[in-house]
Symmetry: C2
Subunit: 326 residues, 2 copies
């Protein structure tokens, strides 16, 4: 059993706190994708809910805890999905939610954060700057700072996906998980390594935002200078040491993929599966497209973790995608 | 309680026969759609499963019954979704499945029927001709003919959606249901009228395929000469009397919508909800777009009943849609 910061019993208990609208999401074989990719593919769909990503599994835990403790405010940095989820979870519990994001963020995500009633503060620069600013706000106002992937609730929330995979599914050989800060990978990975250790836990990150993947391979935090990817949801430069430690215990590999593969993956999910995926949610398909031999004949689970896109950019990506024949 | 051919206890029991991958589908508020449509909107999503439509809820019942009875073959006419679902359900139970469809059918649907191992027979002409041909095959080979909407399993299967709506949901004012042969409308409608009689049951059909709607308004079967709609899933010309009788008992209204509204509805579901909907699955949104005052401030449930589209046609529709500003 991996000695991570996570605990499967606690994750199972967390299911009782999370609004059921975010739990027990669809998990199904998608044969048209299988023909196109040359391996058996099960989709775990995290986009058919009020915030169109898996992030609310974690923010439900945070917001519930804050409300129970009589606290009234919380702040987080977010590329957009965590912020939406925290705004949703906080609104239902009367919390004052502040989200710090970069001005370069996906506009649709920022619009939704505002629409959900959160205060939105924009910073120039990238996500790491937003993290710094959120920390400063928390200190200044004396309120809870929610740090994605570091704060255990975000990992536990993701872990409930792992439980649904092992409780429902027959037998995968591998799970492909989008890798950014690491909450999704360590949460799902912990449960899989404990409950279904034969399943390979494979993390996928864009070549243009490789900090956590490089850190995993070097077994030490590697920071990068810049970000160059459309996959905004996984675009960090400064891995968190404690999260890397967990990831080293649960991941079997960390893979980097090219932007063209991410776009081809989005197009394939739309055409073959009828699913809108944001770039981060197409990383798994991208990994198979880049190395089909590695997956040939195996059964792979793909977590489609978000669908929040700017409509114009999405249509542009889809039109530009190189379409492979099934 | 409506004295239809349906029975809520039997529908509840049917849940035990249907593969869980088709049950307990996502049901959630979609606030971006709400802003765009001017009413509260809950989505019941029937596309995140192996056949991308609700039809397998019914074919699971049929195939299971046939297998229990030691029968080996079944034939149906289908615009494509019933055929896919029957092929899927039959394959898992070793049944020899024949699907009769029109050559004009959505190519992606025909491809999937073949890929699922069913025999596919194509007829020139429309869906009514396919129905005649399927009946002839059944008689000739002495095998079960599955008739959509007439055969009670197809209505019971749809009825399980109704149960999930009333068991899970807080309080809708109305449910918008795609109307074709009538299985979906009578199945969902029966359960709603019995369990939540305050909810308006509103059926929506394209102006280009209005036979059942006209029949409902005239309280007698009206057939039409031709079909002119992209909504292939609901394109019938000869309503079945027994289904009309049930529909008269459970529907509060039947509404006709224009093709441009269906296309605008598909585009809106893609842009605001991140969902791929086939034309039949956009009928509910089309109805709200055409008569927003009727729904203003109310809470409406929309059943997104299928997402099987030809990719090229879908992209063409989406590009051509008149986009209204939210």
């Amino acid at each position: 059993m991996p000695k991570t910061r996570l605990d499967t019993a606690r994750i199972r208990a967390a299911r009782r706190t999370i609004d059921p609208v975010f739990l027990d999401t669809p998990l199904y074989r998608c044969e048209p994708l299988e023909s196109a990719l040359g391996c058996a593919v099960s989709i775990k769909l995290e986009t058919a809910n009020p915030v169109r990503s898996f992030k609310a599994r974690g923010t439900e835990l945070v917001a519930s805890q804050l409300a129970d403790d009589g606290q009234h405010a919380v702040v987080c940095a977010s590329a957009g999905n965590l912020g939406q989820a925290l705004a949703w979870s906080g609104r239902g519990r009367g919390l004052d939610v502040t989200v710090v994001a970069t001005r370069r963020a996906t506009v649709a995500k920022l619009d939704r954060i505002r629409a959900l009633g959160a205060r939105l503060e924009l910073v120039d620069g990238d996500h790491e700057l937003a993290r710094d600013r959120a920390a400063a706000i928390a200190q200044q106002r004396g309120i809870r700072l929610l740090e994605d992937s570091l704060d255990i609730e975000t990992c536990d929330g993701a872990g409930t996906i792992g439980l649904e995979l092992v409780d429902t599914a027959p037998s995968f050989d591998a799970v492909l998980i989008a890798l950014g800060g690491g909450a999704l990978a360590t949460g799902v990975g912990h449960v899989l390594k404990e409950q279904a250790p034969h399943v390979e836990v494979l993390c996928v990150q864009p070549l243009g935002a490789p900090a956590m993947t490089r850190s995993w391979h070097q077994r030490a935090v590697v920071t990068t200078e810049s970000i160059n990817t459309i996959a905004d949801g996984v675009a960090g430069r400064r891995p968190i040491p404690a999260v890397l430690d967990d990831l080293l215990l649960v991941a079997d590999d960390a893979i980097l993929v090219q932007e063209t593969s991410i776009i081809a993956g989005m197009r394939m999910l739309l055409d073959q599966a009828g699913l809108v995926a944001e770039p981060s949610a197409a990383l798994g398909v991208a990994a198979i497209l880049e190395d089909p031999d590695r997956f040939a004949g195996r059964h792979v689970a793909i977590i489609v973790c978000g669908s929040n896109v700017d409509v114009a950019a999405y249509h542009r990506w889809i039109r530009s995608a190189h379409v492979r024949r099934a």
